[in-house]
């Protein structure tokens, strides 16, 4: 790959697209410098990390819950389209998919926002510390029932998923380990009447030492988390999941190397993430199918389309990927779901809306109106150009097919198979 293609690859996979002009600027910087900015923004003069909800005024009022939820989502989407730290956002999204806490279970916006902020703050930190914090995070305690798990009657939900989905993968623990973790993690409550504050209540906790994953004396959050995170399956499980998220199909040799690195770095996420992007730039990746959210964000960035929050939410809901509401504890579905008839139909309909909302004079609209297909592909972060089928379809479509010149062509380009693959 030449530098422009390398940058475009990084932007599609790990940055969810670029606005017009950015590909030129970043190509001039060079790949290493771009990687530095993505993976170590603080050391490279990138604007400081700010929560999308930093200025959000939260009011706990059931009558306004819908409106507040929409405003919060709107701030999230706006941040994704304008962020100076796109990789931090992409990684935060990966962790949201990984822990899969859903607002439809948590049912408190402020608590959900705090959870998402926690994932952002820890997104490139230490995985062990992240798990420790998530374990006693109010949203997680509600989501997987830790908040109602007592010594007298432990709830196994979190104890199981901690091992199956979050750290080890199936086959690395027994039903006995699930029960041991559940017992040792009892005693936390979420005080809903006190701002959803997390509190440890000693008489709800069973402090009896458990043998958990072969470690004896496990009795509380720290000892559970340490026993789980000391397990040799962790580096490979996380490295494989993150590598496949960003790289698609990737050889087991690459995953083994990444796992060894993650282990040697004491489960620090930043070096793992950097190594994954470097592997991708070096060609260790396969095409991936974009999920609805990254597909929408790349389109909004490239076109500058003005989409009101309610419309964006409608599009994402019907395409099957509501931010903050993964469908189940395993997170969002994979490629097959995004290739379904439903999502394909919605992609077509949404593309028309996006093209219709693209402002007059936008470079993408101009390129489409002037039949400059290579320029249009480059603006859509595909500097290698469109596939021949898409070029032919664009060329055969009459310029009078849309309300404004270029509008239907831009819609077609956004809906094309090319834009679904990153």
């Amino acid at each position: 790959m030449d530098t422009r293609s390398e940058i475009a690859w990084l932007a599609r996979r790990a940055g969810w697209g670029l606005a017009p002009g950015e590909l030129d600027d970043l190509t001039a910087q060079g790949t290493t410098s771009v990687l530095d900015g993505m993976t170590s923004p603080d050391l490279n003069g990138v604007t400081a990390s700010v929560s999308p909800w930093a200025d959000f005024v939260f009011i706990r009022d059931p009558d306004n819950a819908g409106e507040q939820g929409l405003e919060a989502l709107s701030l999230w989407l706006e941040n994704l389209a304008t962020t100076q730290r796109p990789f931090e956002d992409a990684l935060s999204w990966f962790w949201h998919d990984h822990f899969a806490v859903s607002a439809s279970v948590v049912k408190d916006l402020h608590t959900m926002i705090q959870h998402l902020d926690l994932l952002r703050t820890e997104s490139m930190g230490n995985f062990r510390e992240m798990v420790r914090k998530v374990t006693v995070d109010a949203a997680m305690l509600v989501f997987l029932d830790g908040a109602t798990s007592t010594g007298a009657s432990p709830n196994e939900n979190y104890g199981r998923e901690l091992q199956e989905l979050y750290t080890l993968g199936i086959g690395n623990y027994t039903e006995q380990d699930v029960r041991a973790a559940a017992i040792a993690l009892t005693g936390y409550v979420v005080r809903r009447r006190d701002g959803w504050k997390v509190q440890f209540v000693r008489n709800r906790h069973d402090d009896t030492p458990q043998t958990f994953l072969g470690v004896s004396g496990v009795h509380d959050v720290d000892t559970v988390v340490d026993a789980a995170l000391d397990h040799p399956a962790v580096p490979g499980f996380i490295a494989a999941k993150m590598a496949r998220f960003f790289l698609g199909d990737v050889s087991s040799a690459v995953i083994d190397d990444l796992a060894a690195l993650f282990s040697a770095e004491s489960l620090e996420i930043r070096p793992l993430a950097r190594a994954i992007l470097e592997a991708g730039v070096a060609g260790e990746s396969s095409p991936v199918v974009l999920a609805p959210l990254p597909w929408l964000v790349q389109a909004v960035k490239a076109t500058g389309a003005d989409i009101e929050p309610q419309l964006a939410v409608t599009i994402l809901r019907h395409m099957g990927q509501m931010p903050g509401q993964p469908p189940n504890v395993a997170g969002y579905p994979g490629a097959a779901a995004w290739l379904s008839s439903s999502t394909t139909a919605l992609r077509f309909s949404a593309s028309g809306v996006l093209a219709g909302r693209t402002p007059e004079g936008a470079p993408t609209l101009q390129a489409a109106a002037e039949s400059r297909w290579d320029d249009l592909a480059d603006l859509l972060v595909r500097p290698e150009g469109f596939s021949q089928s898409t070029i032919d379809a664009l060329s055969d479509l009459s310029q009078s097919a849309g309300l404004r010149p270029g509008e239907s062509h831009l819609a077609l380009a956004l809906a094309s198979p090319d834009l679904l693959i990153a």
Partner: protein, 430 residues
């Protein structure tokens, strides 16, 4: 009468483009799913829509009196004990807060069971003899993990990796001519039971939005034709080619069946209305007579670790309302004799309630089977709360016995599909 292939002329180049290896796609789908679920076994998302592409040939002609299986997947692990409530004191002992009060139960005469009050709408079919329940269902070596257990149920393969679903293998085994994407339709989400090697399926997650809309001032027909053109010829890159292949299938499905999803004002945040709409859509699809033989309906939310009493009551009310609407519609349309409906869920739940007003993952579960061939007004299988397996209801009926009866009814080759001869226990009339 609908013009079946109205849009496919423009995508004619797709036919014959069989160079794309299905294996690559199966792998892609499998891996992507693993990435998101970490489930190590079978494909857990929508059907692999195939290697052989959509065709310009007429659809496979199907015999009159076409049989249709409707498979309802209750994701999360439905609590069987509170759905089909046993008249056992042990049940009440184990469930001091969750046991359904006796005064609210819908008693099933001549059995030791009652229905959850939310399932009352189904009692009509029980009384008519076309509803049966099966107690203690499961698959040996299934797991208390949602994902591993669902894989086992979807594949019908225990303790080993399978890349196809049990119904996908039936679709392949009975495939004649070119694959038809409308032969199997998944409503409300992906349907891994339909994953096949050669056949096609249509996955419609959000029926009310299943349209190809264009903005005002747009030449819709031209834009849709152009969209189809981006799908042919297929690119040499198998990943891009797969994204292309989804397009003609989608355009055709929308053209043929979006008319049944007429309730465009539906608010999908209302899960009850949404569930009912999925069932009504299924009935309407059957009435279209497009040769659809399998419809799956995905409903979610049964993982009731906490607050089970109200959550399960709402879920079962949505479910029974939907099923009743479906049954009434196919009866009115004259299709009741063609349809078998069955529910599945990946496991039952622990006998003893937990401290959160809920129940944790268990083993043996309950399923319902409805239709004219059902040996109804009966609870098949058995429940023995004095003899538990690690605190769970024992699995006494291998679910593949039920699969076998359903496949026999659809018209086999059953034992080949299930890779074994499972005992038929007589839920369906032979």
């Amino acid at each position: 009468m609908l013009s079946r292939r109205k849009f496919l002329g423009a995508a004619g180049g797709v036919a014959g483009a069989t160079a794309v290896g299905g294996g690559a796609w199966a792998a892609l789908i499998r891996d992507s799913v693993e990435e998101s679920t970490s489930a190590p076994t079978t494909t857990t998302a929508g059907p692999a829509t195939t290697t052989t592409s959509t065709t310009t040939h007429p659809p496979t002609s199907l015999p009159a009196g076409n049989r249709v299986l409707v498979l309802v997947q209750m994701a999360g692990g439905n609590d069987g004990l509170n759905a089909l409530v046993p008249a056992s004191g042990l049940y009440r002992d184990a469930r001091p807060t969750l046991a359904i009060p006796e005064s609210e139960l819908v008693v099933l005469a001549d059995t030791d069971f009652s229905l959850h009050p939310s399932l009352e709408p189904l009692s009509r079919w029980w009384n008519l003899g076309s509803l049966a329940a099966v107690e203690g269902v499961g698959i040996p070596l299934q797991s208390r993990s949602h994902f591993k257990s669902m894989d086992t149920w979807w594949s019908g393969v225990a303790g080993a990796v399978s890349t196809t679903g049990w119904l996908g293998r039936w679709l392949d085994a009975t495939l004649t001519g070119d694959p038809d994407p409308l032969r199997a339709i998944a409503l409300g989400g992906g349907a891994p039971a339909l994953v096949s090697e050669q056949s096609l399926a249509t996955v419609i997650r959000s029926p009310q939005a299943f349209q190809l809309q264009t903005t005002p001032g747009t030449d819709s027909e031209a834009l849709i034709q152009a969209f189809l053109s981006t799908a042919s010829p297929l690119d040499a890159d198998p990943y891009l080619a797969r994204a292309q292949q989804a397009i003609p299938t989608t355009v055709e499905s929308v053209e043929l069946i979006s008319q049944v999803f007429s309730d465009s004002s539906d608010d999908s945040s209302d899960t009850g209305r949404n569930t009912e709409m999925l069932f009504r859509s299924a009935a309407s699809i059957i009435d279209l007579g497009l040769g659809t033989q399998v419809i799956t309906i995905g409903v979610d939310g049964y993982d009731t670790h906490a607050d089970q009493t109200s959550r399960q009551a709402n879920l079962l009310a949505d479910l029974s309302t939907g099923i009743a609407a479906f049954m009434e519609q196919i009866e009115a349309d004259g299709h009741a004799d063609e349809v078998t409906l069955m529910t599945t869920s990946e496991f039952g739940r622990r006998v003893v309630e937990n401290g959160s007003g809920g129940t944790d993952h268990g083993q043996g579960g309950v399923q319902f089977v409805m239709g004219p061939s059902v040996n109804g007004r009966a609870v098949h299988g058995e429940l023995d709360l004095t003899e538990l397996a690690d605190g769970d209801v024992r699995t006494t009926v291998d679910e593949r016995s039920i699969y076998a009866e359903v496949l026999d009814w659809l018209g086999g080759p059953t034992d080949e599909i299930l890779d074994g001869a499972y005992d038929r226990i007589g839920v369906l009339a032979a």
